[in-house]
Symmetry: C2
Subunit: 339 residues, 2 copies
């Protein structure tokens, strides 16, 4: 353990990310300074929002700099600590990036550095109890405000966030329709995640299928996709509908600005609301979210899938699985098991 | 008074409305039945939303039928009443349509039939104290939620609703920037309505001017226009901004679906909200709105302009003044004075 393997951002992408955008480097393992903690990444999280971090534009976080390790959430293990709050062997969550080792300020807190609660595995911490599940929890409940008996539509429904968001709405007594790509994902959503119905956007007309499956129209649309699917959903919103803008993966790799929906005026006609959010605003309430999600997992009301790749050399290619729809559930990559 | 002049909807428009869309007819004056009231229209209201009523599509009100009088808000005077709540000579507000006479159910209430409060002139009732001013009041305050010191941007700012919405934000202690077309409107907004600054979309780059005039970004965008102006505003929204979708006049006469803004994902990055509304949902609170608006008029904090056309034969052409930007303030047409 004298070498720190790293994947650095080498060139900003035009369109889909390729391995050309990254550069492999081996560096010395950094030394923790005063108050710092040296950690070793065990599991990396892959999230659509990482594509945005690669762009040179203002956003909710600064862009990853050229020559810096690619930013990524991770579960890591403390190797050495100069901070009283952490000891070697502790499992933590951090923004570890695409590398083996990093030093973190021991008082960073929140998404910067926090200990895994007892009994929480690295996979759970990155997935259903991590930012992915928290995004579903706060997006659906705080913004979507689903009420029992209402109709909830979720795009990217087989994804890590969408699948949890839809199940939360089902737990709250809603009729839940998912939109996903391909028969395997659709089958899983109906049979395992117990969505009321599913639309396969690869083989069905999304607009007309929403109309058929949502005769009382759509009260909450939890959108991870944007583009044509957002436009189709807007055609079927109910009075006072809430559109939760979680993401817009359909546009993340576009090289030209993508036109928005032609039917935004339906928000006026239906007195509806479209609202965006970023889960890091809810860090102070993550304990509440994790407790609720863990409870539903234990009672069997909430199921979850992880897609765990392996191999440090496969890190760049794994990111693209999100954009090609190859991932089944939460995309992560295991670098090492806890020691 | 034995003839009821009417302008009927004859053909649904493609693009801009022309006189071809209407047909002039003279009918007998209707007789009020049991519980009904016969009224004579004095002033007609012209509103961008009337363009939507002419389309054969689902909306917040049914389309005007072919062969029916064109729907329009009006101030009218009771000619004969079979309802104990009204007597000949009473001034009322109703959806009188483009005609001299109509019968209304005396118990209709709300926008169907209501008495003008004492001291309120027909012009005030159709404009600043009517649905136009109420739209500004509830849209700005309930949806926009402006806070003292925040920056508020208003499109269609010289229009009847926009000018009131901006002034309400100024009264609430906000810095207010208007977007309007042409030097006359811009001068009126700065000098009379006391907007902090104005952007002339006919001669200035709206996107860059918003950036210059809103260095702290935009907390509330009250939008009457949509299209490119909405996209420009979205480039400059602040964290947790509220976009009040009041209308989208830029698209009302389009013959093809108009693409929406390419930058909707800014709602996510800025955790912002875009919300539509229809003022008729606030009918129960109109007394509150009228009292506040009347108070600000009396204290001089709120100014208002009416654009009063005359002549029954000029009714169809007057509607287009809204879409060519010819109107200066609230567009109305006087058919007759109260007797």
């Amino acid at each position: 353990m004298t070498v720190n393997r790293q994947w650095l951002l080498a060139r900003r992408p035009q369109g889909m990310v390729t391995e050309e955008n990254f550069e492999y480097r081996e560096s010395p393992v950094p030394e923790p300074g005063k108050g710092q903690v040296l950690v070793r990444n065990l599991y990396l999280s892959f999230d659509p929002t990482q594509r945005g971090w690669m762009e040179d534009r203002e956003s909710y976080m600064p862009p990853v700099g050229i020559g810096e390790p690619m930013r990524a959430g991770s579960v890591a293990q403390v190797v050495a600590s100069n901070h009283p709050g952490y000891a070697a062997g502790d499992l933590v969550q951090t923004l570890g990036g695409w590398q083996d080792y990093l030093v973190v300020d021991g008082s960073a807190g929140g998404i910067g550095l926090s200990r895994l609660p007892p009994g929480v595995t690295p996979q759970m911490a990155l997935g259903v109890l991590g930012t992915t599940g928290q995004t579903a929890y706060f997006g659906m409940l705080d913004l979507g405000q689903p009420e029992s008996g209402q109709t909830v539509l979720v795009s990217g429904a087989a994804g890590a966030t969408g699948s949890v968001a839809g199940q939360i709405a089902r737990i709250k007594g809603c009729r839940v329709i998912g939109i996903a790509g391909g028969p395997d994902k659709c089958r899983w959503l109906k049979e395992e995640a117990r969505f009321d119905d599913v639309i396969d956007y690869k083989s069905e007309n999304v607009d007309s299928r929403i109309g058929e499956l949502c005769p009382d129209r759509v009260d909450v649309f939890f959108d991870n996709v944007g583009g044509d699917i957002l436009e189709a959903a807007l055609n079927h919103i109910n009075l006072r509908a809430r559109i939760v803008l979680c993401g817009g993966i359909s546009g993340y790799n576009a090289t030209e600005p993508q036109p928005g929906p032609t039917n935004l005026m339906n928000l006026v006609v239906m007195r509806a609301r479209m609202e965006g959010f970023i889960v890091i605003d809810y860090v102070d309430r993550f304990a509440e979210g994790a407790a609720a999600l863990a409870g539903w997992m234990q009672s069997g009301e909430l199921v979850h899938r992880d897609d765990v790749q392996e191999g440090f050399e496969n890190i760049p290619a794994t990111l693209n699985r999100l954009f090609t729809g190859q991932n089944i559930g939460k995309q992560m990559l295991k670098i090492a098991e806890p020691s």
